[in-house]
Amino acid sequence: MGDDAQIVYSDGRIETRNAQSTTGFQQVDGETDPGTLTPFTTQSIIVNFNSIADGRGFSLVKAIRQNTGYQGAIFASGDINPDHLSFAFQVGFDAVIVSAERWQKYGGDSWRAALNPAVRLSYSQTHSKSLQSIWQQRHRI
């Protein structure tokens, strides 16, 4: 494993990647004001969470797609632990990049377990395939 990062996808796949293989992905700070976003030129964007105490990155996925018309993949990285995985997929991240250090710290079991979250319902609409929207189910939309 060494320095390899693990990419945990919303569809349940886990992929080992050499840390260098994400060079060339465009980096966006989770704190970025969506009003300042300019069109992206790459096919992969990484939204970096400097601290999970700052949840702005969770609003950024929608804004990136809406404001710039970007249609490529959006990854989350940084201060995300297994307990935040479900929220990341709910708001529309395609995958979370987990550093070798974080993978080890929480253990592969915890990361894999987080792909089958205990909470499988949310009230509002959701991008996560593990979750069902209660409101959608009630009103068949």
């Binding site: 999970i52 105490a53 700052d54 949840g55 609003s59 990341a88 909470v119 949310s122 409101w135 009103h139």
Partner: protein, 543 residues
């Protein structure tokens, strides 16, 4: 009251299972206390001075008899046989063991209850008028909107890591009993033309070290447009709210620093960018919730009330409020016996009131933000029987809306943030002032006691506010006068230097006596204070 369907129930059970796994990982040492803290806080579990404290949500203060009985069982099984009702219409247990908290949550889930978002930097339990749905002066029942807000805010992935906590309050009456103007967002629901429901949105109220009265942010918004509009406010707050200083992180500071008009423009721009089709279900969900509320079957009184006595009449005058249904009354049950701990109830009292509600109030109860309980649907002809049963368990203190009906935070007896004790002060004040209020008309005079600047007891908006501080190792109590928490909300003013703990009851007595001496007919304490000014009151206390 709202009844869960299978989906609501499943979500609460799943959340309980999730928390169990988080506690297990903490106990196994797989995650540190630093990592566990935000997870436990998202579920109402605090680490206090002596033990963990679990805050259980009582959404908008509505409880069934069955739920209250379960709260009593939890107090006996996992705690020390009592609970503490709070200003957010919640209940707190002061002595649970970490290892048992998942079992408590399972027990709660079995009666459609939870502790979701009762702490943490997220949207907290929504509060409302404790007389919602039964007040004689109500324009629109706020409960369907409260439940819609509960669902919308529950585990909302965008708003779980805000700059700071975020509190909503809702009222459906012109007379505000929900203190909407001292909340991050206060909503006033109104009836519009053709049976529509409109909302006024008040933003930026709050207490703590920088008390602010909310400003009218958006008027007459149709209820079906409310959730996308609130999402826009939340996103703008999340984006621009300060994260460099937790004391400046609430939306009241963002509003003050940005200005009303500029913030409104930012929210409007965000609102325009939101995909409205994702909210197309709001109208039908609102209607579904409103239709799902269990409504009591009101009957016509079969017998005229015959029994009475002087004590009962005193209780009725003070604790019984007008009901919208003729022949019925709202009975407020005081958790403020003179000399007692405000908001505390023993498991015996909880079970007794659950039984009374089952028999005499359609099995329904409410928790008020003044830390009392309510029997919301009592036949007037049953009031005497209800009173007799309350007397048996020491719940018949006839002091609602009197100065001894004190709001107090847990203070230094429990709280890790407190700088001074508040419970013992409340006990000595209520003992002293009770004698005065029995012989003098002091209706409406509110006394709130906070044990630190965070103002959990809302002392800023009390007629008489008491704030406990620590000056060089000695407790010191500042007095503020003239606060109001209703539709004319105002912040109280400090009248002079703080006083020692032992001197607080005497100081309050002097304030009250001076007010009685100089008030005009039907003049409230804050109105008198506004008219005569600070100096004469200061003179009365310190002179």
């Amino acid at each position: 009251m709202y009844r869960y369907d299978e989906l609501d129930q499943s979500l609460v059970e799943q959340r309980s299972a999730e928390f169990r796994s988080q506690v297990e990982r903490r106990l196994a040492g797989k995650i540190s206390e630093a990592e566990f803290k935000p997870l436990r806080l998202m579920n109402g579990l605090y680490l206090q001075l002596h033990a963990y404290m679990l805050r259980v949500a009582i959404p908008y203060g509505v409880l069934s008899s069955k739920q209250m009985t379960k709260l009593a069982d939890i107090a006996d099984k996992y705690d020390r046989g009592y609970g503490h009702f709070t200003t957010r219409q919640n209940i707190q247990y002061n002595w649970p063991k970490l290892i048992e908290t998942p079992d408590i949550l399972d027990d709660l889930a079995s009666v459609q209850m939870h502790a979701i978002q009762t702490s943490g930097n997220c949207i907290r339990n929504v509060t409302t008028d404790p007389f919602a749905g039964v007040a004689a002066d109500e324009e629109v029942d706020p409960r369907p909107l409260c439940e819609l807000l509960r669902q919308w805010s529950t585990l909302h992935p965008e708003f779980a890591y805000l700059p700071r906590k975020f509190k909503f309050a809702v009222t459906g009456s012109a007379v505000d009993r929900a203190a909407i103007k001292v909340h991050d967002i206060g909503l006033r629901v109104k009836s519009g033309p053709n049976d529509t429901v409109l909302t006024d949105i008040w933003v930026g109220g709050g207490q703590g070290r920088t008390p602010k009265i909310a400003q009218l942010f958006k008027a007459n918004l149709p209820v079906e447009d409310l959730l996308p509009y609130l999402e826009a406010i939340m996103r703008v707050y999340n984006r621009y709210g300060r994260r460099d200083n937790k004391y400046k992180a609430r939306i009241k500071i963002l509003l003050a620093e940005t200005g009303l008009e500029a913030l409104q423009q930012q929210v409007e721009a965000e609102y325009q960018s939101i995909d409205q089709t994702a909210f197309s279900y709001i109208e039908s969900e609102y209607a579904r919730i409103a239709g799902n509320l269990i409504k009591p079957e009101y009957h016509t009184a079969t017998e005229a009330p015959t029994r009475t006595n002087a004590e009962f009449e005193a209780w009725r005058r003070q604790n019984v409020k007008p009901h919208k249904q003729s022949g019925y009354a709202i009975a407020v049950v005081s958790l403020k016996p003179a000399g007692g701990i405000p908001g505390d109830a023993t498991s015996i009292q909880m079970r007794a009131i659950a039984d009374i509600a089952e028999r005499y109030s359609s099995s329904e109860l409410r928790v008020t933000h003044r830390q009392n309980l309510i029997l919301p649907h009592v036949l007037e002809s049953d009031l005497f029987s209800v009173w007799e049963l309350l007397v048996k368990v020491d719940l018949a203190e006839a002091n609602i809306d009197l100065p001894s009906d004190i709001i107090a935070c847990p203070g230094l007896d429990y709280c890790a943030l407190a700088t001074a004790r508040s419970i013992p002060i409340a006990q000595s004040v209520s003992k002293k002032i009770r004698a005065t209020e029995l012989t003098t008309d002091l209706k409406g005079v509110s006394v709130n006691i906070s044990g630190c600047i965070n103002a959990c007891a809302h002392h800023h908006v009390a007629n008489i506010g008491v704030l406990g501080l620590n000056k060089s190792g000695v407790e010191n109590y500042q007095l503020t006068l003239g606060g109001r928490n209703d539709q004319n909300a105002s912040i109280g003013q400090r009248i002079g230097p703080g006083v020692a703990a032992d001197d607080v009851p005497e100081a309050i007595e002097r304030i009250v006596n001076f007010y009685v001496d100089v008030r005009e007919i039907h003049e409230s304490l804050p109105d008198t204070f506004d008219r005569v000014g600070k100096e004469p009151f200061r003179e009365a206390v310190y002179g």
